[in-house]
């Protein structure tokens, strides 16, 4: 990514803005009055530009998923502000958050666990559409089949249960469910982890195609800097609940200013050549 492109991306309006975001978990040890405190988020400040792919990287336990939970409106921060489409949403109650939920969707890492094992593929995709009153009857069925086709799943599989799909197919199903409500923001919480390189590349290509088609904004959460080094427009690095570095991909990868970023760069586990080859295979 050239400097010119980085500058162009930096000018994009922010879909999400966070300021001073903090979240603390207090736990008590069994058979003890002693409490221990986990500062999952500490004064987090981050901007997520619209229609871009922002990657949030950091080692396990650095607070990435807590931040994702706050952005997905599943958790409330203890302090700080979250601005979404120009509206401060961190203090809104559930009733006021409900109209926003369809705009923010999440794809989880564990696709087998994130899909209701008792539902068929069609029921999984149709459920949010039905609940939000978007469609019913045959129209709902048609919409479901269209979504399956869009993510590369055959509509003939609509009545299969989730356990009858492979890991990659389940992730496609999760993506179909996530885009069903036409969200503007998609959180990919380690969604590419646990997949083999070829499937990872195919899912990634699908996500990039969907982004182009629907002008989606992505937040890709990963501990794999080698992956985000290929695809992210912006990168934010988390360490012990804080954002220690953020900026356009080229700056963060090319000139890492923080020890944590350098350590993550050193731990790149997959060669760029192998990944690019898999992506090329995935597109064909």
């Amino acid at each position: 990514m050239g400097t010119e492109q980085a500058t162009r991306l930096a000018r994009k309006p922010a879909l999400f803005k966070m300021r001073g975001l903090s979240k603390r978990y207090v736990q008590r040890r069994p058979f003890s009055r002693k409490k221990f405190v986990i500062d999952a988020l500490v004064e987090v400040a981050l901007e997520i530009p619209s229609a871009c792919l922002t990657a949030l990287v950091g080692e396990s336990g650095s607070g990435k998923s807590t931040l994702a939970g706050c952005l997905a409106l599943l958790e409330k921060p203890d302090a700080g502000e979250i601005w979404f489409e120009g509206q401060e949403i961190s203090r809104l109650n559930d009733a006021k958050l409900d109209p926003l939920r369809h705009k923010i969707q999440m794809v989880f890492q564990d696709s087998a666990g994130a899909l209701n094992p008792r539902f068929s593929a069609a029921e999984i995709i149709a459920e949010p559409l039905e609940v939000q009153g978007r469609a019913s009857g045959q129209k709902l069925r048609n919409l479901t089949c269209e979504l399956m086709e869009e993510v590369g799943l055959s509509p003939d599989w609509a009545d299969r249960r989730t356990l009858e799909f492979s890991g990659g197919q389940r992730q496609r199903l999760a993506i179909a469910r996530a885009i069903a409500l036409k969200p503007s923001f998609l959180i990919l919480d380690e969604s590419l982890s646990g997949l083999d390189l070829s499937t990872q590349a195919q899912i990634l290509n699908l996500l990039l195609d969907l982004q182009a088609a629907h002008e989606l904004t992505y937040l890709l959460i990963s501990h794999d800097l080698s992956l985000v080094a290929q695809i992210a427009d912006f990168i934010a690095v988390m360490h012990e609940g804080r954002i220690v570095e953020q900026g356009p991909r080229q700056e963060v990868i090319g000139h890492p200013g923080q020890t944590q970023t350098r350590e993550l760069l050193n731990s790149i586990r997959v060669s760029e050549v192998a990944f690019q080859a898999a992506r090329a295979g995935g597109r064909s």
Partner: protein, 320 residues
């Protein structure tokens, strides 16, 4: 289907094993129904010996077992020495009374346990959950007999309900509505004790299963899609938490004939409990075997019912 057939065959084999085991244990137990007659000087030893021959007690164990099997095939299920009648008639009447009591108690316990368990699981650590946990801990800690004595004391002191038996003395003179009301009034004390005895276990199982499922990623995903908490609880979490609860329901059915022995004896409910106690005390062999076999049949049926319900409820079992 093959799975259910296999389970059915297992059940039949279990029933045969239990019947053999019953006869072996009865052989090990000292004395017989006619031994006490020997102490009576008015009954001659020859009469006692003739009675033993008449009822086949002089024959070896395999012959007695063969006689019992033949009797089961003929629908008599053995012969009661004390009542001088086939066991079947005795068992059916008493089992009906027991089922009336335990069926009502089990239905009430589940109808209470599911909403309480689901409600408290949705509010873990909140006052209502703590109150429920404290209540269930208390009920678990109090023995069934203490609970029963407490209820009996309360009812005897206040005279608000009849104590003892299943019907009032003037039952035959009552109209149909009054008869039903009379049985219901007699049922309240033993049924309430049975409900309180099983409720804490059921509530805790429902709560634990629901809490585990409510922490699943697919529940988190459903919340993210804006699906309402009530729909998540009842359409997502409860069906997913159903498998262990269905197995537990099978156990509840299994205990329908055997779970109320103490309560029946203490409240004078004319069910299988008092019959088994009397038969054991007087060594009325075939009645004891009949009651044990009836209880075992219910256990087998309960487990079979749970298996069928699992097949219906869980598509993954059908897929297997």
């Amino acid at each position: 289907m093959r799975y259910l057939e296999r389970r059915f065959v297992h059940g039949v084999l279990l029933l045969i094993s239990v019947s053999i085991f019953c006869f072996l244990l009865s052989e090990l137990a000292p004395g017989s129904f006619f031994d006490e007659m020997r102490l009576n000087p008015q009954i001659s030893p020859e009469t006692v010996a003739a009675l033993r021959v008449q009822y086949g007690l002089d024959r070896p164990l395999p012959a007695r077992y063969a006689y019992w099997v033949k009797s089961v095939v003929h629908g008599e299920w053995g012969y009661s020495f004390a009542y001088n009648s086939p066991v079947r008639g005795l068992l059916l009447q008493r089992a009906r009374n027991t089922l009336a009591l335990t069926g009502v108690a089990m239905a009430l316990a589940w109808l209470l346990a599911i909403p309480i368990g689901v409600w408290t699981a949705s509010l873990p650590g909140k006052p209502v959950d703590r109150l429920s946990m404290a209540g269930t801990s208390f009920l678990l800690a109090v023995p069934e007999i203490v609970l029963l004595l407490g209820f009996l004391y309360f009812v005897v002191r206040t005279h608000i309900l009849p104590v003892g038996g299943m019907v009032s003395v003037d039952f035959d003179d009552l109209g149909l509505g009054a008869k039903i009301l009379d049985v219901v009034r007699h049922l309240i004390v033993p049924a309430t004790v049975l409900v309180f005895a099983s409720l804490p276990i059921l509530v805790r199982h429902v709560r634990a299963s629901m809490i585990e499922i409510l922490g699943s990623p697919f529940i988190e995903a459903a919340r993210g899609h804006g699906i309402s908490p009530a729909r998540i609880l009842f359409r997502y979490a409860l069906p997913a938490a159903a498998n262990p609860l269905i197995s537990l329901f099978g156990l509840s059915v299994a205990g329908l004939l055997s779970g109320s022995l103490l309560v029946e004896v203490m409240t004078g409910w004319p069910g299988l409990g008092p019959l088994l106690l009397e038969a054991s005390m007087s060594r009325d062999l075939y009645v004891v075997v009949g009651v044990v076999m009836a209880s075992t049949s219910f256990m087998v049926l309960g487990n079979l019912l749970a298996d069928v319900m699992l097949v219906v409820a869980d598509p993954r079992v059908r897929t297997d």
